[in-house]
């Protein structure tokens, strides 16, 4: 759920617009240094993937279902910089189609792209450091990071609310309920993230950015065949 217009006052929204622009700008610089001319197609397709992935409903219980937010998943799969750009672009396009306030775009990008993708990747690397350095640790670390990132993004919202909320709600109550509810959402996010990362690792481990240092990149080698290739020279052509 994205923050709509008018929930946080204008000065705070503007200030977080600056934070979001700085965060995304930094991500663009780092991504360009890393992937050069690949940034646009890969981040674009990743944004389309996150957009589509958010349409897939996972049944939770009692007929309710939830969908993925995708910040940590994108960051682990394509890296924090491309992932943050992709999430920010998804939010921008969604805001242009009335999902999330136009004036609240900076707030939403701060929570979901800066905290969600960049923060999520940081937590992922931390979790990975505590686990054994093997490939199966990667989905576990991704799940842990996703689980922590969701309430963390909710806490980001509470901080914005404390600075510029337009309604008189007790801050402690907002913090408690937002973080509490999002801890539950985080469990779902963690399960989906871990399961998705584990599938990608099972089929194309080389694609998972967060696992690159664990995948042995075998260089191409020439293996001379034991069977001698049939010589075609000097044979008459069929005819």
């Amino acid at each position: 759920m994205h923050i709509p217009d008018g929930f946080i006052d204008a000065p705070t929204s503007a200030a977080f617009g600056v934070v979001a622009a700085a965060g995304v700008g930094y991500a663009v610089r780092r991504a360009s240094a890393e992937a050069e001319d690949q940034v646009v197609p890969l981040a674009g397709l990743c944004a389309a993937f996150v957009f589509a992935g958010q349409m897939l409903n996972f049944p939770v219980a009692l007929g309710t279902s939830g969908h993925l937010i995708g910040g940590t998943l994108a960051a682990v799969l394509v890296g924090p910089w491309l992932g943050a750009i992709a999430i920010a672009v998804v939010l921008l396009v969604q805001a242009l189609f009335a999902d999330g306030g136009l004036t609240a775009l900076g707030l939403n990008i701060t929570n979901m792209a800066v905290i969600g993708a960049l923060g999520g990747y940081l937590l992922f690397r931390l979790a990975l450091r505590l686990l054994p350095a093997r490939l199966p640790s990667v989905p576990v670390a991704a799940g842990i990071a996703a689980f922590v990132t969701v309430p963390l993004a909710a806490a980001g919202f509470v901080a914005e609310f404390a600075l510029g909320g337009t309604v008189d709600l007790p801050l402690g109550g907002v913090l408690g309920s937002m973080v509490g509810v999002h801890a539950l959402i985080g469990v779902g996010e963690a399960v989906i993230t871990a399961a998705t990362v584990s599938l990608v690792i099972a089929t194309r481990p080389d694609l998972v950015y967060g696992a690159r240092h664990l995948v042995r990149q075998a260089p191409l080698e020439i293996r001379p065949s034991a069977v001698r290739a049939p010589s075609t020279a000097g044979q008459p052509a069929d005819g």
């Binding site: 759920m1 709509p4 217009d5 008018g6 929930f7 204008a10 929204s13 663009v28 050069e36 001319d37 940034v39 646009v40 197609p41 890969l42 981040a43 674009g44 397709l45 990743c46 389309a48 993937f49 957009f51 589509a52 992935g53 349409m55 897939l56 409903n57 996972f58 939770v60 219980a61 799969l77 394509v78 750009i85 992709a86 672009v89 998804v90 921008l92 396009v93 805001a95 242009l96 189609f97 009335a98 306030g101 136009l102 004036t103 337009t166 309604v167 008189d168 709600l169 007790p170 399960v191 989906i192 399961a195 998705t196 990362v197 584990s198 599938l199 990608v200 089929t203 194309r204 694609l207």
Partner: protein
Amino acid sequence: MSGAHAVAAPVGGIERWRPRASVLTRLPAEVRIAATFGYVVTVVLTPITAVWAFAAHAAVAVAVGALGRVRPLAAARRMLIELPFLAFAVALPFVVAGERTEFLGLTVSRDGLHQAFGLMARATLGVGLVIVLAATTPARELLTGLARLRMPPVIVAVASFMVRYSTLIVDQLHRMSVARAARCHRPRTIASTRVLAAALGSLFIRSYERGERVHLAMLARGYTGQLPEGLPRPPARPADWAVGGLFVTVGAAIALAGWAGAGGGW
């Protein structure tokens, strides 16, 4: 019914609007984006105590929608997107502290009632105005408008890729869900997460590989990291900007009148 649960809509949310020609479509997209943004800012700055000011804003929004020949039903359906948020606003009168008052036979907080109204009014107007923008502007023109408004080229390029390919990828997701349904998969419990996550994983691999293929195809056509400018329309003239400015001025006048009439408030 169970199909609606798991099967994603075959058409993504992006290219759903097919704008009809109207007075609004004559304005370049950059003017419309800037004017919408400016107007939403004036809505956010309108004090919540000035109920009539929000009524005036709503009248302006409806008038603009009518000018843009927006289909009312489609717009109303699109506005359902703010439903979860409205549930939050409805709770406000019961949880905000302060003086109690009677409303529809219930004892609620007077401040909470005001704030819930302000929250709903601002959010609804914001959604409504953006829907008018989205419904009168094809996605491609929105992107051109963003580029003309000096949005960094990388972001515009990534967004244009997303818009172009999300239909394909959403379709792919849909085909995968049809394939699952054909194999008697009915996601009902949390146990089906494994299967759905596998679908998401293969969707990622297919998206990534498509990205690589597209990148190679771009390289083959001489791509060096800069997309060529193929702008479909000439940039806005001063007269266009004047129309946009006038629109925002109307909003600002309503907001100012709201402040004067409300005698402060906040």
